[in-house]
Symmetry: C2
C-alpha cells in the first residue's frame, strides 16, 4: 500500500485555511498513492482549547469535515485520512476523531480512545472516549487506525501517568490489523523523539505490522510540534523518518524494507531548531513580523537574539541596550558586538535619567530606607516600559529573555524583564543556555566570547552577581530538575546527596514565586515539565 504522509502546520482555529491546505495537498499529490494521511485535529489545529466549547465553532468543523469528504471524490482512487472534532449526532457527544474517506464518502470514523488529561493536555474537558475499536478494510488492507495518546499506554517506555483501561494498539493487533496508522499532535520536548521512535518501532516489530505515524508540525503558543512523522516496516526498521520542525509531504510503500541504521539528531541541535520554529510561528501566527529584544550583554538575551534572527531574519529583529549606572562597561560593547555579528539593528537608551526621576518622585516615601529590591526592580520595569513603548509604536513583538532557572526561583522582575509577548527560553535551564550558546558558536564566534565567559549578573546594583544570591547554576539546575521535572520532595532530593540547606532554599524560592509565573508571558515548552499551562499551582497556599 502506498501512503502519503502529510506533516502539516495548521493554524489553530483557522478552519478555512487548514481545510484549504489539506485539499491542496490531497489534490496535488501523486495520483498513484492509495491514501493521504493528515495529523490529529488537522481541521482545527492542535490544541484548539476552549474554541471547542463554542457551538458555532463545532458547527463549522462539521461543515468542513463533510466538505473534505465530498472533496475526496476529486481523486476517487485515493483515500484521505484526517483528524477532526466529530460531533456524533446519534448521542450528541463530541469526539476527537480520524475520518477515513474515499470517492466522496466516509469509509469509517475512528474515535480516540485514550484522552490525555495531564500536563498540557485537557482532552477530557472536551471529548468523549471511543466506545469501540475496529479495523477499517481499505484497498486490501486491514487498517488499525488510532490517534496520538492511543499508542502511549505502555510502561516500559515512559513512566506510566495514567491507569488507562486498555492499550488500543494491542486490541487492533488482536483483530488482525495489517497496517497501523496513528495520527498525532505530539508536542516536542528534548529527547521525546527517541522515545516515540522506539515505542512505534516496538509495536511494528511486536506485531510484524508496518506502522505509519503522522504528526503535526509547528508552534502553537507554548507548544512546539516537531513533526518527525515516520514509517516502520514490519520488522520495526524505519522506511522513512521525516525531518523535524518543517512541513513535509512524502510517499512511502508499506511493503518497503526499512534501513538498519538511523541516527538521531543531536539534542542541542534539536532544541535549537525547536526554539526557532516556536518563535517564528508565534510571531507570524500572532500577525507580527518584527520583534524587539533588550540586549543586556548577558548570555540569555544573546541566545534569544540569535534564535530570533534565525527565525525571522536579521531585518526583523530590533535590539536595544538600556544601560543604567549599574551596568558594567562591557554590557553595551558586548551587546553591540553581538548585534553586529548577526547584522541586527542595535540602539541604546540610557535609563539613568528616567531612574533618577522615579527616585526623586518617591523620595518622600523612601526616606530613611536603604537601596534594595524596590530600587532594583524600578530599573527592570523602566526597561520593560521602554520595550513596550517600542512595541506599541512600531508594532514589534517583545521577546523576553528569562531562563527557566531564574523563572523557577523568581530571580526576575514581574513587569520588568518578564515583559514580553513570548518568553523564548523560559523552559531552558541556565546550564543548557550555555550549551546552546556553544552550539551556536560551533562554526564561528557568533556570540562574543566575553558574553559567554562573564559571570551572570542582573546589574541592578553595584557589583551584583547572580551567584551572590543563587546557588551555583550547576547545583540549582539539578535541584530544580528533581523538584519540578520529576516532582520529588525535599526528602527525596536529600537522598540524591545534595546540600539540605540549598535544597530548602530552592524549594522555598520556587513555591513563593508562583504568583510571578501566573502572570508570565507564554514560554516555549522544551522539557517534559515546563512552567505555564501544563503546571497548575495554587498561589494563596501553604505547603512543603
Amino acid at each position: 500500500m502506498r501512503i502519503t504522509l502529510a506533516q502539516i502546520n495548521p493554524i489553530v482555529g483557522d478552519i478555512e485555511g487548514n481545510t484549504k491546505k489539506i485539499k491542496n495537498i490531497f489534490i496535488n499529490n501523486d495520483l498513484a498513492t492509495d491514501l493521504t494521511v493528515f495529523p490529529e485535529l488537522a481541521i482545527t489545529g492542535y490544541p484548539p482549547k476552549d474554541l471547542l466549547e463554542k457551538k458555532s465553532f463545532i458547527k463549522k468543523t462539521q461543515i468542513a469535515l463533510y466538505d473534505l469528504v465530498r472533496f475526496s471524490r476529486h481523486c476517487s482512487k485515493k483515500g484521505m485520512l484526517f483528524g477532526t472534532p466529530f460531533l456524533d449526532k446519534a448521542n450528541g457527544k463530541l469526539y476527537n476523531a480520524a475520518i477515513l474517506c474515499c470517492g466522496g464518502v466516509i469509509s469509517s470514523i475512528h474515535k480516540k480512545t485514550l484522552l490525555p488529561s495531564y500536563d498540557v493536555f485537557d482532552e477530557t474537558r472536551y471529548f468523549n472516549s471511543s466506545e469501540k475499536l475496529f479495523l477499517s478494510y481499505f484497498k486490501g488492507e486491514k487498517l488499525g487506525i488510532s490517534i496520538c495518546e492511543d499508542i502511549w499506554n505502555v510502561s516500559n517506555f515512559i513512566p506510566k501517568r495514567v491507569n488507562y483501561p486498555i492499550n488500543p494498539i494491542d486490541s487492533l493487533a488482536k483483530m488482525g490489523a495489517t497496517v497501523f496508522i496513528n495520527i498525532s499532535a505530539s508536542p516536542f520536548h528534548i529527547g521525546k523523539e527517541r522515545i516515540r521512535y522506539k515505542l512505534i518501532s516496538h509495536y511494528a516489530k511486536k506485531y510484524k505490522t508496518p506502522f505509519i505515524y503522522v504528526n503535526q508540525v509547528g508552534g502553537n503558543d507554548e507548544l512546539i510540534f516537531d513533526g518527525r512523522s515516520l514509517c516502520f516496516d514490519k520488522n520495526g526498521k524505519p522506511i522513512i523518518v521525516f525531518s523535524g520542525f518543517k512541513e513535509s509531504v512524502q510517499d512511502i510503500d508499506t511493503k518497503s524494507v526499512g534501513v538498519s541504521n538511523f541516527k538521531f539528531e543531536d539534542e542541542i541541535e534539536s532544541l535549537y531548531e525547536a526554539l526557532i520554529l516556536g518563535i517564528r510561528d508565534y510571531v507570524k501566527k500572532c500577525g507580527f513580523s518584527k520583534v524587539v529584544i533588550g540586549l543586556s550583554g548577558g548570555i540569555d538575551s544573546a541566545v534569544t537574539c540569535v534564535l530570533a534572527k534565525e527565525a525571522l531574519g536579521s531585518s526583523n529583529v530590533f535590539t536595544i541596550s538600556m544601560p543604567s549606572m549599574f551596568s558594567s562597561r562591557g554590557s553595551i560593547s558586548d551587546a553591540r558586538k553581538l548585534a553586529k555579528n548577526i547584522s541586527v539593528e542595535f540602539k541604546i537608551i540610557k535609563i539613568n535619567n528616567i531612574y533618577r526621576t522615579y527616585i526623586q518622585g518617591l523620595k518622600s516615601f523612601f526616606l530613611k530606607t536603604s537601596f534594595g529590591l524596590a530600587e532594583e526592580n524600578i530599573q527592570a520595569r523602566i526597561r520593560g516600559n521602554i520595550l513596550m513603548a517600542l512595541s506599541n509604536k512600531f508594532d514589534y513583538l517583545v521577546l523576553s529573555t528569562g531562563n527557566k532557572s531564574e523563572l523557577a526561583v523568581g530571580y526576575c522582575t514581574l513587569y520588568g524583564d518578564m515583559c514580553g509577548g513570548l518568553n523564548v527560553i523560559s523552559d531552558v535551564p541556565k546550564t543548557l543556555i550555555y550549551k546552546l550558546a556553544n552550539f551556536i558558536n560551533q562554526n564561528s564566534k557568533v556570540i562574543p566570547i566575553e558574553i559567554i565567559k562573564k559571570a551572570p549578573s542582573a546589574e541592578l546594583r553595584p557589583n551584583q552577581k547572580d551567584q551572590d544570591v543563587l546557588p551555583p547554576y550547576s547545583i540549582l539546575d539539578k535541584i530544580l530538575s528533581y523538584y519540578i521535572d520529576e516532582g520529588l520532595s525535599y526528602e527525596d532530593i536529600i537522598k540524591k546527596g545534595l546540600d539540605p540547606a540549598t535544597i530548602e532554599w530552592t524549594i522555598r524560592a520556587v513555591n513563593r514565586s508562583e504568583y510571578k509565573r501566573w502572570q508570565a508571558a507564554p514560554g516555549l515548552k522544551v522539557t517534559a515539565k515546563s512552567f505555564g499551562f501544563g503546571r497548575r499551582m495554587p498561589i494563596a497556599a501553604k505547603y512543603e
Copy 2:
C-alpha cells in the same frame, strides 16, 4: 439524627493546619451530636491543583486521613465525615473521597462519582471516578453520601454541560437512603445559591428524605466559596441555611420541620460580600496584611478601595493618586475625598516629570510620529512601576482595579493598570460596578457622587473618554455577556437585535486581547464565566 455542619475555611495545601482545625471543631462541639460533617477535600482545601501530582503531598494527606480517623476515638459516640484525597492501595488509584469514621475506625469510604472537568474544574486530571455507590448504615440511618458534583447531573436547574452516565442521588435514593449528605467545595457566582437551594430542596422533596449540604467557605486564588451550607427536611423545606462568606459550625436535627419561607440575600449585597472575602483571604493567605491601590478618581478604583477597606480595615489600605498632565482637575480631589470618607491613607505622586524623561529618552526613536497608544501606555506603566515600587519597599500587595468590560476588550494596559497581585473586580462588568457603587452608598455617601457621575475616562490623553472608543457600556456588557458568558456566536447575537457593527467590533476586540489576559493577575470569579483559569483560549490563532 443530630448532625453538626462544619462550614470551614481551609488553606490550600496546609494539611497540618486544616487537620488541626477539623480536630478542634470535632472535639469542642456538642457531645450530643451524632455526626460532624466537613466539606469536600477539607484536609487539603479546594482546589489543591497540581499539589495532587506530588507523591509526597498525597502521602501526607493519607497520613492526615488516618490521623483524623484515630482522633475520632476521642468522642466515641460521634461520627466524623470529611473530604480528602484517598489513595486506594488496592488499585493504586487516587479518588476524591468522603471518609466516615467513628470511635477510631473507618466506617465507610465514599468516592466521588461525577468528576467535573469544565470551566475552573480539572478533576479528571487528578482523580478517578467511584466504581460503586452504596449506603452507609450509621446510628440507625441509611446515609446516602455524595460529593459536590454528584448532585449536579440535572438538566432542569442548569444547562447540562456534561453527559454524565448517572445521577448518583437518584441511585442512592433507590437504595433506600434515609438521609442525604453532600459535602462540597462549590464556588460562588452571582445567583448560584438560588440554583443550589432549589436543586437540593428538589431532591429532599422528591425522595421525602432530609438533605444535608456542607460547603467550603473562603477565598482561594480566583475562587470564592460562599459556604451557605444548609439542611432541608423531607418536604424540601429549609431547617437551616447558613450565612454566606464566613466560617460557621451549627447543629441540626434531621427530624426537625423546616420553615416555609426563606429569603435570599440580595444579589448585589452577595457580590459585595463575596469580593470582600475574596480580597481578605487572598491577601492573608498570601502572607500580606496591607494593600496599595492607585486611585484615579474613577469609579473602578473607588469601588475596589471601599471593598479593600471592608476586607482589611482602613489602616491596612494605602492609596495613591498618580496624576499626569492629562488628569482632570477632579481626579485628585475626588480620590482624596473618597480616601477621607473611608479613613485610608492617601498620597500623591505626580508622574509628569517621569513621563517627560521617557519621552526625552525615546525622542530619537519617536521622531515624526504622533502622540498615540505608545505615549498613553507609558503613563499607565509608570503608574504600575510606582505601585510595584511601593509594594516592594513596604510589603504592600497591589490591588489592580480593572473591570470585566475593559479586560474583555483589552481596554487596559498590560504591565500598567493591569499590574497587581489580585484584580478585585476583573469579573465585574462596568454596569455592575455602578450597582455596587450605589449599594455601597445606600446608607451614606461613601463614594463621592462626582466619582459616580463623571464619564469614565482613562485620562491618558487630552479630553479622552471611554465612550470615544468603546460602545456604550450598557450595550457592550450585553454583547460581552452573550459572547463570553453564554458562548454565543456573531450570528446568534445579531438575532438578539443588537447592532452588527458593534457586535463585530466587540468580538474582534475580545479575540485579539487574549494575549493580555494570559498575563493578567488572578481575578476574583463572581460570574458563571470569568476570565482566568476557567477560560482557556489560544493566542496565536485565527477564528470568528
